[in-house]
């Protein structure tokens, strides 16, 4: 298979941890193993699965915030699995990331947080001192405007609501002019209305720019609604890949099936997941299955 056609090629990716904790069985604990998939420009892909299935590990392995222990990552025709620190920084500019907890610097203004997206392009001194060009500043303003927060540019990040913070996060990502966006549970801490707003903003802006979007989601209904393609993860392995239409209630159930058994090894890489959200996801899938239970 030629890799040059795809923006991102994940091949046989795996991550295992040395079992260091007391009371854990000997050997290694595997958080992710043998995951392969590809992503094309402009695609909107969601990754679903029970908490602890390795969704967060997968996403963070793609841009190597977590170092994968097996497999290769090819981004834009370039193998980045073993890139050194300096080269990795260049790659990071083109891979933006959105987080569940927004991860804004809460003491700075919205506009300053958006401009952080430019840091990868700036030299150490100018970036450290926060010296941006007028074009960059105006661009940041425009992006904030685009996510509907132009009037909040001078608000301190901690004065914004959750949904607003996440939209600042999206603007920060777009400021990087990325080719791909990795979103780690972007709406897990939001109410349904803000969630919808964030998902719509995300979909609209990435589609306009042809940016690939890979989103970890707990909410199956959102995944079915927004994605071009869905990847199902269970116990660190890919158990499903297909369009929303192919993701039948049976398939969804099989992804989440027996998740209580799977939770044994979760604590190692569990994102700060909220159990009720998994419950909600379950409720939706059960409902979709016509009250099969």
């Amino acid at each position: 298979m030629s890799t040059s056609n795809h923006l991102l090629v994940i091949d046989d990716l795996g991550k295992s941890y040395e079992a260091r904790r007391r009371g854990t069985a000997e050997g290694t604990a595997s958080a992710l193993s043998g995951v392969s998939f590809t992503a094309d420009p402009g695609e909107f892909i969601t990754v679903i699965g029970p908490s602890g299935a390795g969704k967060s590990t997968l996403l963070r392995s793609i841009n190597r915030l977590i170092e994968p222990t097996e497999g290769t990552i090819t981004f834009d025709g370039r193998d980045i699995t073993h890139l050194g620190r300096g080269k990795l920084r260049e790659v990071h500019r083109e891979i933006a990331m959105i987080f569940q907890n927004y991860n804004l610097v809460y003491r700075l203004t919205a506009i300053q947080n958006v401009l952080h997206g430019r840091l990868g392009y700036k030299n150490a001194l100018a970036g450290s001192l926060g010296l941006y060009t007028e074009e960059e500043k105006l661009r940041a303003f425009e992006l904030l405007d685009e996510v509907g927060l132009g009037e909040f540019a001078y608000r301190r990040a901690d004065q914004l609501s959750g949904g607003q913070k996440q939209r600042v996060g999206i603007a920060r990502s777009l400021m990087q002019e990325p080719k791909i966006m990795l979103c780690d549970e972007p709406i897990a801490s939001l109410d349904p209305k803000s969630s919808r707003m964030v998902m719509e903003t995300l979909q609209r802006l990435t589609r306009q720019r042809g940016i690939t979007c890979i989103v970890n989601l707990h909410q199956v209904d959102f995944a079915l609604e927004y994605s071009d393609r869905i990847i199902g993860l269970r116990a660190g392995q890919k158990v499903f890949e297909g369009t929303p239409d192919e993701a039948t209630p049976q398939v969804i159930r099989s992804i989440y099936e027996g998740q209580m058994d799977e939770v044994v090894d979760v604590s190692i890489n569990a994102p700060a997941a909220i159990p009720t959200l998994v419950g909600e996801g379950m409720a939706v899938s059960a409902e979709a299955a016509g009250g099969a239970r």
Binding site: T109, I111, Q112, L115, G130, Y132, E134, K137, L138, F141, E142, L144, D145, G150, E151, F152, A153, Y154, R155, R156
Partner: protein, 293 residues
């Protein structure tokens, strides 16, 4: 106009400085207290250096000698000749260290017990506003008097000895712990206390069934921090209280015999005790926090 691409709301918000550059923080909403505090502190520092008495010594030569002395102290610690002069034996040094630790322990236990009850009176959510303010005011005054002055006062009022040292250190320690404890009490969820009161619990039942369990980890944490401070203080006042202890030996070695090698040995003993206390306190804190959470 470059800002023509912005919506009206955003364009209205955008501020430019005198040179036409886009601002990253709003002039109107700017909080300059950090900068202001820094400027005040730095100005005071400059004033201090301008009016400070530097004595008659050549500062450069003195600095060189101080480094050499520091080397002698830390690199060649010795009690016996050739470096030491035999003023102290290991027996006396260890014994005085044990005495200082004993004084530290007594002060900490005494002040923890007294502070617990005073803090109940000082906590706004457990006590009456009048009592709370009286105790807090009283404690603030006690805290503002340096430990060494307390010790000196008690040495004359009740005579030289361990009692003067213990009382002197404890007064300050109590003032510190009452403040810390009462702040911990005030952070308790109001609902817990209310629920117990509603079910007809008496004041002491509320204290021992709700307040103490809810705050015990914090109280212990503060107590252990104070244990370390009390040791430092016990060493420091040792020279003046007439209670013996390692501080007195240190003062003798440095101020009467002028032997830095002996000072070095005593400093190392102090360091070891301080490290052990720190280690024990960190371990205990971890253990209690784990056991109670």
């Amino acid at each position: 106009m470059a800002s023509a691409t912005l919506t009206k709301g955003a364009a209205d918000v955008l501020e430019r400085d005198a040179r036409g550059h886009i601002r990253l923080t709003s002039v109107r909403e700017r909080n300059l207290s950090v900068q202001l505090t820094l400027i005040v502190l730095v100005t005071l520092t400059v004033v201090t250096f301008a009016r400070m008495g530097y004595g008659t010594v050549d500062l450069l030569a003195a600095a060189r000698q101080a480094f050499a002395d520091f080397g002698a102290m830390m690199l060649q610690p010795a009690l016996d000749p050739p470096f030491g002069a035999g003023h102290f034996t290991w027996g006396t040094v260890i014994e005085s260290a044990v005495i200082t630790v004993a004084i530290t322990a007594i002060c900490t236990v005494l002040s923890a017990i007294v502070s617990f009850f005073l803090a109940l009176a000082a906590a706004a959510n457990l006590s009456s506003p009048v009592a709370s303010n009286i105790v807090k005011g009283f404690v603030a005054i006690i805290r503002s008097i340096p430990t060494i002055l307390w010790v000196l006062v008690f040495t004359v009022a009740i005579g030289l000895g361990s009692e003067a040292a213990v009382l002197g250190i404890s007064f300050h320690s109590i003032a510190y712990l009452v403040k810390s404890y009462s702040e911990s009490f005030e952070e308790i969820d109001e609902g817990v206390i209310e629920a117990l009161r509603a079910s007809g619990a008496s004041f002491w039942q509320v204290v021992f069934q709700a307040v103490t369990p809810a705050t015990i980890t914090k109280l212990l944490s503060w107590t252990f921090i104070r244990l370390e401070i009390n040791f430092t203080n016990a060493v420091a006042v040792g020279a003046f209280a007439g209670a013996g202890g390692i501080g007195f030996q240190l003062y003798q070695a440095g101020s009467r015999y002028y032997n830095l090698h002996e000072v070095g040995v005593i400093v190392y003993v102090c360091l070891i005790v301080a490290f052990v206390l720190e280690f024990v306190s960190v371990r205990l804190r971890k253990r209690y926090i784990l056991a109670d959470s």
